[in-house]
Symmetry: C2
Subunit: 400 residues, 2 copies
């Protein structure tokens, strides 16, 4: 059986994602569609509007056969680490194709990534602080050297997938298929007039504001609409999360803050001071004060999220050293595929979380999942946590 991989967040799932799945099947003629999906937190350093189980279930109903959770250690990271983790794990589960949306679907991303490698080898100074300055300076160099415009968000992600494929020596295993991004722009905050595709950002905003669900109807599947009508599972970072952040910083010494993942380079004392003198301005204002010219807003948000969740570097490194495939949901066809592959897996597949997992390889995902649940609307109604005591969702029937 041939599998196609998708790298997703589904925050929330909308018609653009459905189109992505359909195109993936059509282009590759794959037997199964595998989505590598962010868990309860997304790449930009925010909690997802619905939890991973809610999002996995909808994905299974909309044409995905296997939903795997991209571990927090890869999911809440800059694009190159996000891409690296997702591609590595999709390769481990055996996908032959990777289909992704791009603003420039005509670019040969594989060739660009190979060329970029040569460029960076010729410009050694970039390798030293590669991870820090990737987004801006590195791409500027590529534009100069390769003559392509790599500034659009989906192009950049596609390029990051292609780079991961080069770094992981997967060029023979995985084919890249960029598809043209439809209508909505990634960062659009308002719903478009007409059409069927809106940006996830615009849909999130609509759902968070809790009104105008009739507007949302045309952009999402009925099951998603029903979920949206109940309201977000967690509030955006600005609410109780921001309260928790300030409380956490107030009770931490600078030395304790410096043990947080990536809260280095003088950021810990800066954060401590900002919180100590916080006078009740908005979260946006707080973030603007925390931000500096050296770092992007997304990076600063990730740092604040790491702080709220108390993520430590050794926890991130443990996942990188011992990665795993975490199964959230599967269709009958997906089960058949897993049955075929399971003896060939180089990375362990976790279907049901044990106490040993919680104290071992899954420790970080468990910890951040508990915090998500603590802040969730259904926090006290859910009998089970985000992790222990849950079986993967099994969807028997063919998708509608």
């Amino acid at each position: 059986m041939r599998a196609v991989g998708l790298i997703t967040e589904y925050n929330p799932f909308h018609n653009g994602h459905r189109y992505h799945i359909q195109q993936a099947k059509q282009l590759t003629q794959a037997d199964v569609v595998i989505a590598m999906m962010s868990g309860n937190y997304v790449q930009r350093g925010e909690p997802a509007i619905f939890n991973k189980w809610q999002r996995a279930e909808i994905a299974l109903n909309q044409g995905v056969d296997i939903v795997l959770e991209l571990p927090f250690a890869y999911a809440v990271q800059p694009a190159h680490l996000f891409a690296y983790g997702a591609v590595k794990l999709l390769a481990a589960i055996g996908v032959a194709d990777l289909v992704f949306g791009a603003e420039h679907a005509d670019y040969d991303f594989g060739a660009l990534a190979r060329a970029a490698k040569t460029v960076t080898q010729d410009h050694e100074h970039f390798q030293s602080d590669y991870r820090q300055t990737f987004a801006s300076q590195f791409n500027q160099l590529l534009v100069e050297q390769l003559g392509v415009d790599l500034t659009k968000p989906n192009d950049l992600l596609g390029f990051a997938y292609a780079q991961a494929r080069v770094d992981l020596n997967l060029a023979d295993q995985i084919q890249l298929h960029p598809i043209q991004r439809q209508q909505a722009q990634y960062h659009d905050v308002r719903l478009p007039f007409g059409g069927q595709i809106a940006s996830a950002t615009a849909l999130r905003r609509q759902i968070e504001q809790g009104k105008g669900m009739t507007n949302v109807a045309q952009y999402v599947a009925p099951q998603m609409l029903a979920l949206a009508k109940k309201g977000p599972e967690v509030h955006p970072f600005a609410g109780a999360w921001f309260d928790a952040l300030r409380y956490q910083v107030l009770t931490s010494s600078v030395a304790q803050l410096e043990t947080i993942y990536q809260l280095n380079d003088g950021l810990a004392p800066r954060l401590k001071k900002l919180v100590d003198y916080y006078q009740g301005a908005s979260y946006e204002d707080f973030l603007a004060q925390f931000k500096s010219r050296r770092y992007t807003k997304a990076r600063m948000q990730r740092l604040l999220l790491y702080t709220v969740l108390q993520v430590r570097p050794e926890q991130i490194q443990a996942v990188w050293q011992h990665p795993y495939l975490r199964l959230l949901g599967v269709t009958a066809r997906g089960q058949q595929y897993l049955h075929e592959r399971k003896k060939k897996l180089a990375i362990p597949l976790i279907s049901r979380v044990t106490q040993e997992d919680v104290q071992g390889r899954l420790q970080l995902d468990y910890q951040v999942g508990k915090v998500y649940q603590h802040f969730a609307r259904q926090a006290l109604q859910q009998q089970f946590t985000q992790d222990t005591g849950r079986q993967p969702i099994i969807r028997d029937k063919k998708e509608k």
Copy 2:
């Protein structure tokens, strides 16, 4: 000038406290009344219903000349440590008398404390775990040996003051004056019918429920009533504080929890497990599950408060090693007294908190004050924090 000392919490200030001040003046003919008052947190391990500045101001209006803050390191402790800190600091400011309410005002507390010292010397096994078993076993022994009933809360506190006086060799400096406790019992939860004195517990409950302020009027001064009508400054521990506790424990490892003051003897893993499996029962239920036969409810509440506030043993010990007198408010007569004494003080008097204090001797009080403010109703309206940037309250006129 002669000073009389009172050891207080004023949570909230009521007519019983006013009676206490009047009696103290009458009995001792002192020129000034000095209240050693708990800060934002009280002995039973709870945040005070009004902050220390609000409570100090009312005390100054009701006859106290100098309000000093009993540091957290002494205030939120079992009775013997609470008493030890309060008596030590009152002695340092030079009081000649200590007036306190007791259920048995006829007891000679000084003699009892001296006798108890002999008893404990004769029963060495009590000295080894003296601090753990003080409340029950130790007192049982005293009843047997000395034939007095020391089980009532105010008698016990008075006895603890007398013991501290013995331990600190202050018998020549400080006279003890037990006065008969009026009407209300310490733990009464309902307002009494008639009279002018109700228990602080009953008044707190009434204020927290935010209704029946006409019932409160007869038990408190008009200024206190006005404050009560605005509602409590912080909610009781069960609300947002309990949320914060659970969030804190979820993001802490057992090893991190074990660094909390007194969270030892297997209590850290027990707390972690309780929080991990928390299913939304009430705080009272949670506390009941956390409680064990070995420890009192107050002790368990203090442990949970230490956890929320992230209090560490080295912070407590630093205050014990380098104690200070923290001035919250003063009348003109109080100022005159301080002017007379200030060159003779063996322990430094802090009138205005500097950045050096915040990082030094006042670090713990500053930290816990910031957290109190974070949870306070006026959190975002207060221009200044509980500590830095504030001058002591100065009340020029004679009290009404």
